[in-house]
């Protein structure tokens, strides 16, 4: 007797296509679209979805988690400063206190827990999907994103003249790291102006980043390293505590804005 139930190949294909299409159709209109599935985007998504907000994360890579899998010098240990260990507690990530106020955790454990928490909360993902442009409404309010398959960008133009599609949302969150892809597109169109990397006190940059997390322009919230680009905060290395708390702050702002829209 075979171990697995007998299924035809076409049934597998139909199951994949059917499930994907149902989700894609449903999330063509979301409450919040988060561009970038790194730690700040995942954190924002988890917080929003756990409050019942219909949230989609667009990620250009196949894998979710950004740089959260690994620490400096390819060593897979992550550090956070207090009070960010409270987020690790929430996620159920074990950690050690390296010294007072400094905590160290396994990168793979922390990242997989964060992804799982986002999934458990109800976040849906469009991975291998690249952000191409924004959807704008009256008063240059950001109201969605234009996306395409990531592999399109790696192929010769002659065979990749594939038009993108647009999906809509009440709020878009730019969590794309230093590239700040959404902001860059708006700047390219002359609709926004970012400051770039600035001249500030590097040792205070993490506090500043969390403090500056918020609405950049109507309909667009910025979290994580993209905040540095937006406001001219110092370029810094991975600061996972800052990313997690920035994601949380971004979600709080999004909830306020969604409440105002009701």
């Amino acid at each position: 007797m075979p171990l697995f139930h007998p299924i035809d190949e076409k049934d597998v294909t139909r199951a994949i296509v059917g499930s994907f299409m149902r989700q894609f159709e449903e999330y063509a209109e979301s409450d919040v679209i988060i561009v970038g599935g790194g730690p700040s985007g995942l954190m924002a998504g988890k917080e929003l979805a756990s409050k019942g907000v219909k949230t989609l994360i667009v990620e250009r890579n196949n894998y979710i988690g950004g740089g959260f899998w690994i620490g400096g010098y390819l060593m897979n240990k992550l550090t956070v400063r207090a009070p960010a260990q409270e987020v690790l507690d929430e996620l159920g990530v074990p950690y050690e206190e390296a010294q007072e106020g400094l905590f160290v955790a396994d990168g793979p454990h922390a990242c997989s827990k964060l992804i799982a928490a986002a999934c458990d909360a109800g976040v849906k993902f469009a991975n291998m999907t690249i952000f191409e442009d924004v959807v704008l409404r009256e008063g240059n309010r950001v109201a969605g994103v234009v996306i395409n398959w990531t592999p399109i960008t790696s192929l010769p133009r002659e065979i990749t003249c594939v038009d993108p599609v647009a999906i809509e949302s009440k709020i878009v969150i730019d969590s794309t790291g230093h590239d700040a892809c959404v902001l860059a597109k708006l700047e390219q169109r002359g609709l926004a102006k970012t400051v770039g990397f600035g001249a500030m006190w590097v040792e205070r940059s993490e506090d500043l980043l969390v403090e500056h997390t918020g609405e950049f322009m109507p309909g667009l919230i910025v979290t994580g390293m993209a905040v540095s680009t937006a406001y001219g905060l110092p370029r810094m290395g991975p600061t996972f505590g800052g990313m997690l708390l920035s994601g949380k702050r971004g979600a709080e702002v999004a909830l306020e804005k969604l409440a105002e829209m009701k």
Binding site: G72, T79, R81, L102, A199, G214, E215
Partner: protein
């Protein structure tokens, strides 16, 4: 130059500085001069308005502060610098929330001084008055020689500004501090780890929680006073509190380790001011 009144504006966000002690010190340094301790200048200014007007005042101040922000060390802040909404919102949050201690931006010291000066009532802005404003924000001045901003501990003028974070940052730390930090950056260490590595090499440097800041701040007040009395804030003697320290160890030597507070010439400068005012102590605490 005659000095009749000195106003010291406190910075409550820096809890390690005892402003009452600073008040007593200046009274001792300048007997006969009226010395007044005032609250933080921006809050004092806002509180002078009725509730209905404060929102607009905060918005206006926030925009002015954002316009003073140094966005790149390599180019001077232009007049009427354009600002984005989030920058103004950041300043508004700082103005509204006294407990908000998040800081670390650099502001153009001259633009900031002009802004502060515009907030001081004309009756208190006479030539014989000196206003010394403490802030926990970093200030910097544009240097035409190497065409970049330099962080400053103090800007002497009308008013003078003493940056408490500048005292901990502007004078250079020991070389090991920067080497360790650069090494950590080269290895791609997280910010938390970089700070940790650097802290081990920080050595005898001041930080914002340092109880010695009060003592050090006295020397920077004295520099502002000397500048007003003589036109020159600084002294070439490394053991005088008016020494313009470019390194933390120089700062600690001049402000904390020296046997005498001031060199003979500068002690005489303060003594002459005391004689001018008849040596009568007057003081207020507003």
């Amino acid at each position: 130059m005659f000095l009749s009144e000195v106003y010291i504006y406190s910075e409550p966000r820096c809890r390690s500085v005892d402003f009452q002690e600073l008040l007593s010190y200046v009274k001792g340094l300048l007997p006969g001069t009226r010395v007044v301790l005032v609250g933080p200048i921006l809050e004092e200014y806002i509180n002078d308005f009725e509730d209905s007007l404060r929102k607009g005042v905060v918005r206006q101040l926030a925009e002015s502060l954002a316009q003073a922000k140094v966005k790149t060390l390599e180019s001077p802040v232009p007049d009427g610098q354009s600002v984005i909404a989030g920058e103004v919102a950041y300043e508004q949050r700082r103005l509204k929330d006294r407990e908000n201690v998040v800081f670390g931006l650099i502001y153009d010291a001259h633009i900031l001084s002009a802004l502060y000066g515009s907030l001081i009532a004309a009756t208190k802005s006479r030539i014989e008055h000196l206003h010394i404003i403490f802030t926990n924000q970093l200030i910097g001045t544009w240097d035409m020689a190497d065409r970049r901003y330099h962080a400053r501990t103090v800007l002497c003028g009308s008013p003078s500004i003493v940056s408490l974070s500048g005292i901990t940052i502007a004078p250079a730390k020991e070389a090991g501090f920067y080497i360790a930090r650069r090494s950590a950056e080269a290895f791609g260490f997280a910010e938390e780890e970089k700070m940790e590595v650097a802290a081990g090499f920080a050595g005898d440097c001041l930080n914002l929680d340092d109880p010695r800041l009060t003592e050090v701040a006295k020397g920077y007040i004295a520099q502002a006073v000397a500048h007003r009395l003589s036109g020159d804030a600084f002294c070439s003697d490394p053991d005088c509190r008016l020494y313009n320290a470019h390194r933390q160890r120089e700062l600690i030597r001049a402000q904390l380790d020296s046997d005498s507070e001031y060199c003979v010439m500068h002690q005489e400068l303060f003594n002459a001011q005391a004689r001018t005012n008849g040596g009568q102590w007057t003081s207020d605490c507003m």
